[in-house]
Amino acid sequence: MSALIARAEAHSPEAGFGERIAENQRRVFQIAFSILGNSADAEDVAQEAFLRAYQKFRSLREAEKFRAWVNRIVFRLALNRKRGYRRRLARDTAWQISETRTMVDGARDAEKQVMLDRLHREIERLPEKLRSVLQLSLVEEMGAADVGAVLGIPAGTVRSRVHTARKLLLEVMK
């Protein structure tokens, strides 16, 4: 495996790409996971985002540029995939969806899992503007400025929307 990584990095035009993956993979995965809610799809979307970044790597050599670009692209890819889910949801039943999530993410404490499923549902019910901001804010290393850069809104607006979203969740999560 390490030989493969070394070989991939030896090609000069894309040298350093492996390093960029290592720096960003956890955050990129979490952005996808916060939107999609299951690891398999989140990993798939994260891989797609990195492959797109690879094609544009010559213009994304700077770490900060790469980080901002990959955050945006994974967010959009995850949203697109979710829209596909919703179309499928019209055909499938709700229990199939919730069972998939539980099976994929392993066994947790039962009560916690029930609460988490409920929280997922409540987040889904939030208005789009609040939901996106909240989901991105929950990702590690994503400050208000990073979230704002992904969504194209000021950091102050991000903070205010997160507060509103949390207030709404506090009210409904009895």
Partner: protein
Amino acid sequence: MTKACQKWRGDLLEVALTGATAKGLEEHLPACANCSEELSELRARKARLDALLPLVAQGTGPSADFRARVLAAAEAASEGKRARPWRLWTLAGVTAVILAALVIGATSYRRRARTVPADELAAAQILTEWRAPSDVLLANPGQEILRQMPRLGESYLHVPVKMPVKMPLKMNEEE
């Protein structure tokens, strides 16, 4: 929560979330058991929410071989991309050959078309020697005919016509 305390609902949520108590609520809370109980409940709920919310994004994390898989996929895509210029060059070469063949064919056809058969050449020679008729001959012959036609009072023989003399009525004279 009693009906009278409903107006504090928003403020209680704010206190639970931020810890900052509004002025009016600060005075109300010690006197209202319902609101105090509600605030305790909201604080507990907030603690549960704070514990759960990070799990929404965390999941199990990417798999251990994620980086290697991405690099392998990127390398495969890159090799495909590198192979593409060869395909482009091949396509360009084939196009060039077809174009060259078309140009050569068109040139030889035009050359062959320039060779004129002997009879056609003779006919062309005759045509070059042919003189066009003069304008006089081409003029409308009717004009000439009109010019030669005698006018009113003229004869075809160019002899002036003599008008017949009026004869006296002899019958009257006899009477």
